[in-house]
């Protein structure tokens, strides 16, 4: 867009010119003041605008494995044996404090504590606690950094999910991936910088909506591109019958001439956009099949991810596709895996849900690593909030449910410069409140941007009279998460 503005300024009139000139001189002076090392180094440095990192990046790309519906931290990464000892006892009011409840348990007369029905063990060099539901993630314990002290502000799915993705609970801000596309641009010009893949697990699901991958007020090129879960992840890429690549090329060349004629007459930048989009579509015709064709993957890749990865639209297939996209330079691949909302029948549902997520998530980490890509790819795994330490609905020895809990929950990150093999933050024995090292959603965003070489306070966009950031006016980089 900048370029178009520059071009349009070629048509400035006199008043416009005088108005701008003052600003321009001041700007030049200020620019030289702010240019780091202007005198310290005689070397020419690049223009510190967008597309440049604020400092050396650790990660180049992100794969966000969003576990939609909020997986229970108490059955995954936050080991709280006391809840088993005090099975059925009432949650002490002093622990609950003034925590508001959802409409689903607010009227419950009792809040009986319930511990994990699933065994926990320690894995990896630093003894990361992981439950038996995630045996494959346990195998990559030395590559992941578990955060047990995530906390959020929202208590219902939609606002919490929107908050996690856009840094605001209302759905009109740009999503993380859009910010990254805006800040860093595309690495591979033949693919969108921000891709979205959806899958649905066996468990109780919650919806996802396109507002989660919106560009908000940023230019629409930064919007997430949702891939289809069918055989053809991107529709209408093939040439129509009877047309080959040469015909297509000739057609595009002719069309480009016509469009250029139009552009020289009207100067509308949208015409240029159109020409470049046609060109990109042409290149995608060769680039995309190379990426989305999973039949060429060796059989041991299928053994790594599980044979579900051959079934389009499954979580495993999306993890595999995420690796292929990321490997091809897609800046931000966003997965949503639905089915983690275990209000009741947790014992019945969570193993099945975890089975699907466990193998493919761990496979993705292993796979990135064996290609030398894990250190430059930031993988994030987690939901929008946690689940309560007390039972929702009837508590039996065999089964229970858990309601939404925003005060503490667990996610993990891998690769991309995070402190691998560690567990960050502590919660109380009830797994209810954070006792050490909290990580707010804004802090997570700030830290993620930091790992990508962006200062979360500098990556901003002026809209409606003020500058907006992914972290708005909050957020601090959590150094303890960075290797």
């Amino acid at each position: 867009m900048e370029k178009e503005f520059l071009e349009s300024r070629l048509n400035v009139n006199r008043r416009h010119f005088l108005g701008k000139v003052g600003l321009g001189l001041g700007g030049a002076a200020l620019g030289s003041l702010m240019m780091p090392d202007l005198f310290g180094s005689s070397k020419v440095t690049g223009d510190p605008t967008l597309g440049f990192h604020h400092f050396a990046p650790k990660a180049k790309r992100v794969i966000y494995l969003f576990q939609n519906g909020a997986p229970s931290q108490l059955e995954s990464f936050n080991y709280k044996p006391m809840l088993n000892k005090r099975f059925g006892e009432e949650l002490p009011p002093s622990i609950r404090g003034d925590q508001r409840l959802t409409g689903m348990t607010a009227n419950q007369s009792k809040f009986p504590l319930v511990g994990s029905k699933f065994e926990f063990k320690q894995y990896g060099k630093n003894g990361t606690w992981i439950s038996e539901l995630f045996p494959n993630i346990a195998k990559v314990a030395d590559d992941i950094c578990v955060i047990n002290t995530m906390h959020t502000e929202a208590i219902n799915h939609d606002p919490a999910l929107t908050f996690m993705q856009t840094g605001a609970q209302v759905g009109n801000r740009p999503s993380m991936g859009a910010w990254l596309s805006y800040g860093l641009g595309s690495e591979n010009n033949n693919l969108p910088a921000f891709c979205v893949l959806l899958s649905r697990g066996k468990g109780n699901g919650q919806g996802v909506y396109s507002k989660l991958w919106t560009n908000g007020f940023l230019d629409s090129v930064h919007q997430g591109v949702q891939f289809s879960s069918s055989e053809d992840p991107i529709l209408y890429l093939n040439n129509p019958e009877g047309a080959d690549m040469n015909t297509r090329r000739t057609m595009l060349d002719k069309l480009e001439k016509l469009n250029s004629m139009n552009f020289s007459e009207f100067g509308d930048p949208e015409i240029k956009t159109k020409i470049s989009q046609y060109e990109m579509a042409y290149r995608m015709q060769t680039a995309v099949p190379e990426i989305t064709d999973i039949t060429k993957e060796p059989e041991h890749i299928v053994k790594l991810y599980g044979s579900d990865c051959l079934v389009p639209g499954t979580y495993a297939a999306n993890c595999l596709l995420a690796r292929k996209l990321s490997e091809s330079g897609v800046r931000f691949v966003q997965l949503y895996h639905q089915g983690w909302d275990q209000h009741g029948n947790l014992v019945g549902e969570m193993p099945g849900q975890a089975l699907e997520a466990d193998r493919a998530s761990a496979a993705l980490i292993t796979d990135l690593k064996q290609r030398g890509l894990l250190d430059e790819t930031l993988v994030v795994w987690g939901g929008e909030f946690g689940r309560t330490n007390y039972c929702q609905g009837p508590l039996t020895a065999a089964n229970y449910g858990r309601d939404h809990h925003p005060r503490s929950y667990s996610i993990f990150m891998a690769g991309g410069g995070v402190k691998a093999g560690t567990t960050y933050g502590e919660t109380d024995e009830f797994g209810y409140n954070i006792t050490k090292d909290p990580v707010h959603v804004h802090d997570l965003h700030a830290t993620m941007l930091h790992l990508l070489g962006m200062d979360h306070e500098k990556l901003n966009f002026k809209h409606l009279g003020r500058r907006y950031r992914l972290t708005d006016v909050h957020g601090k980089v959590i150094k303890g998460l960075i290797a």
Binding site: A56, P57, T286, K303, R371, G401
Partner: protein, 711 residues
């Protein structure tokens, strides 16, 4: 009395005092009541600086000012200058006498200051316009710059002025650097030495080297080895900020908690400049703090400095195209990242043109491209290459030894190439290598381990080893038909993406196994209601059962009417939802394929017109999603008749009650009718009272209906 005279006399007195101070300085003790005057020196010195410059400017611009005004102006400025210069110089002596300053800088500052005050005083006696005046004035300008600079050096410390633009010497620290050098000295440099240095020894203490630090100040040694509590250094740090003896003084940058702990730990350890991190146990608090600090130091180094030149912006720009990305990630570092994408679009120039930035390429990703052995030689001409990704390229490894030219190459990924154990020798010639990835190559994971043993530094990563993996469950077969409502005779196609997988199926509702029918061609749907299929393959566990229900398209009523309102939120697409031939998926119950009821029962009337066909059975399509409170209907009724208001009950069915959570499913009730009425009314009642075992026991449940079939 003339004001000029008053000033003249005052200045004479001041000048005599300066002279007196100059001679007898070392014999004098300045009384305390004069100390505040001394401390005003840094304040009032700004007057002479400005006034001398003003005088100079006036002199320069004198041709532009009317003669009379100029004389007046010059006179006033001159007297003000003389007065403030003298008083500044005198106060300077008071300040110096207070102690804490010494060394050459002070000496130079003193003499330039005194000289300045004498020369400026002399200006009064020289007529303007004379050459002497001009010379005197010019030299005072030079002197004031000199005196000012050395004075500032006294206040702010050596090198203050040029510090931001001087190249910083980077301290390289590791486990074997003495803790004093690695940790303590930088803290002292940052927080103490601006007042305790050779030229400004506050309290006679100079902290600029270890020996001087040990020598202590006017109150003796400042630290007791091994005892932080007894060390006056620590005592002063822990005093409250308001306390006069607190160090660093109020208003100066204070020590952070971490720095405090480090100094304390260091003193308690011994407080010498010998012991290193390596000599500490890793559980030691000092070790942990110090390690964290070293990590932080090395992290700052993440903006790695390179001594090669920047590539010009235009060169970088010219190298970027649709398939090649050349990027300088950090504005302050010349290092470049290069990636080339899309195998089919690759032309050799995409690689060869990179010679324009051969020096700057630090990271190069050529994965999946048709890169061959002979290209390696060219890649080896990038002297600063650190990371090279050649995954799934066409190389065989025969020329990898060429890479020994890349003396900075740390990471090499060869996954998916044809390299074999023959590359061992070549790899060992690349001394800087830290990790090599050979997953999915001719090198087996075992061989990778063997190679690993031969290398001291590099890790050979064999990646995922499928042989040790337990056999996995196959994914179930997939069905190619999207529709579940089929016309009679439609072909049903099953498939599995993993080659050489066998599919067994049944259509009678029984569970398939390896003795069931083997799928070899598409099935013809005649009467298939329930299809079940499994996938099987050697070395894999047989899949779970894939099952689906087909609904053969039957008679379509002329119209359908919903006679009880559906729930506000789940109205589907209205009554036409029921005959649109589309089955829904119950996990997506808010999709328009479903109509949901909670308060009312579902009730719909189908109209077959005046010439109704004979209907044998009616099937009501419903969904079950128990965690979302969506249960089977508890009662289903079918009525029939030739008039909507006089229909009679044909059949009532009470389905079984579930006793525990069941998996989500989309199902249908079949109700035999065998009549030919014009109108049929179908009613399905939701659960009003969820059972004991359900999370919402006692609350009402829902029914969700997606389709009605008439056969």
């Amino acid at each position: 009395m003339d004001w000029k005279k008053i000033i003249n006399n005052t200045v004479l007195v001041l000048q005599s005092m300066i002279l007196f101070m100059l001679i007898f300085e070392s014999f004098l003790e300045v009384p305390t009541f004069l100390q505040p005057l001394g401390r005003m020196h840094p304040l009032i010195l700004h007057f002479p600086i400005v006034l001398i410059v003003l005088l100079f400017l006036l002199e320069l611009g004198k041709n532009h000012i009317e003669e009379k005004s100029f004389q007046k102006l010059r006179e006033i400025t001159l007297y003000a200058t003389v007065f403030t210069t003298s008083i500044t110089a005198l106060f300077g002596f008071f300040l110096a006498a207070e102690g804490g300053y010494s060394g050459n800088t002070l000496l130079i500052h003193k003499w330039t200051g005194v000289l300045l005050s004498f020369i400026v005083y002399g200006l009064i006696f020289v007529k303007s316009g004379e050459k002497t005046f001009t010379y005197a004035l010019y030299s005072s300008v030079l002197l004031v710059i000199g005196a000012g600079h050395f004075g500032a050096t006294l206040t702010h410390g050596e090198g203050f002025l040029l510090e931001p633009i001087m190249p910083k010497s980077t301290l390289i620290v590791n486990q074997n650097t003495p803790v004093y050098t690695a940790i303590i000295e930088p803290i002292l440099d940052a927080k103490c030495t601006s007042c305790h240095n050779p030229s400004k020894k506050k309290g006679d203490l100079d902290m600029s080297s270890f020996e001087l630090l040990m020598a202590g100040g006017k109150n003796g040694p400042i630290l007791v080895h091994g005892d932080a509590k007894e060390s006056s250094l620590m005592k002063r740090i822990v005093l409250p900020l308001e306390h006069d003896d607190h160090m660093p003084p109020d208003g100066k940058p204070q020590l952070t908690d971490q720095e405090f702990s480090l100094i304390k730990g260091w003193i308690e350890m011994s407080g010498d400049n010998v012991f290193t991190l390596a000599s500490l146990s890793t559980n030691d608090t000092l070790y942990q703090f110090a390690q964290a600090r070293i990590d932080a130091l090395n992290n700052n180094d993440a903006d790695k400095t390179y001594d090669f030149d920047y590539a010009s912006a235009s060169t970088i720009e010219s190298l970027n195209n649709s398939y090649r990305t050349v990027k300088q990630p950090v504005a302050t570092s010349p290092a470049l990242d290069v990636s080339v994408f899309v195998r089919q679009a690759f032309i050799p120039e995409y690689l060869s043109e990179l010679s324009k930035v051969d020096e700057q390429i630090v990271s190069l990703n050529l994965s999946y491209l048709p890169i061959t052995d002979k290209d390696i030689e060219f890649i080896a001409s990038f002297p600063n290459l650190e990371k090279l990704l050649l995954n799934y390229t066409d190389i065989t490894g025969a020329t990898l030894d060429k890479l020994s030219n890349c003396s900075n190459l740390k990471e090499l990924s060869l996954a998916g190439t044809k390299v074999s154990t023959d590359i061992s020798g070549a790899l060992s010639s690349i001394k800087s290598l830290q990790i090599v990835r050979v997953w999915d190559t001719e090198i087996t994971p075992d061989e990778a381990k063997e190679m690993q043993a031969d290398f001291e530094i590099a890790i050979i990563d064999g990646g995922f080893d499928p042989r040790n993996a337990v056999p996995l469950k196959l994914s179930p077969p997939m069905i190619m038909n999207d529709e579940r409502v089929l016309k009679k005779g439609t072909l049903v196609e099953l498939t599995h993406k993993l080659p050489e997988t066998k599919i067994y199926y049944t259509i009678d509702g029984s569970d398939p196994d390896s003795t069931s029918a083997l799928y070899d061609k598409p099935l013809v749907v005649e009467e298939i209601d329930k299809l079940k299929a499994i996938a099987a393959k050697d070395n894999w566990e047989t899949s779970t059962i894939f099952q689906t229900k087909f609904f053969i398209d039957g008679f379509t009523p002329k119209s359908v009417k919903l006679t009880k309102p559906a729930d506000q939120k789940y109205k589907g697409s209205g009554s036409k939802t029921l005959i649109d031939k589309k089955k829904g998926t119950i996990s997506a119950f808010s999709a328009p394929t479903w109509i949901g009821y909670q308060k009312n029962e579902f009730e719909a009337i189908a109209d077959f017109g005046s010439n109704p066909p004979k209907i044998n059975k009616i099937v009501i399509g419903y969904g079950v999603n128990m965690p979302s409170y969506i249960m089977e209907p508890v009662k289903v009724e079918v009525y029939g008749g030739s008039n909507p208001s006089t229909m009679k009950l044909i059949k009532r069915v009470n389905p079984r009650k579930p006793t525990m959570y069941e998996a989500n499913r989309e199902d249908g009730f079949t109700i035999e009718v065998n009549t030919n009425h014009q109108y049929y009314k179908v009613v399905a009642y939701p659960e009003t009272n969820l059972p004991e075992w359900h999370q919402g026991k006692g609350e009402p449940g829902w029914v969700f209906i997606d389709e009605l079939f008439f056969y």
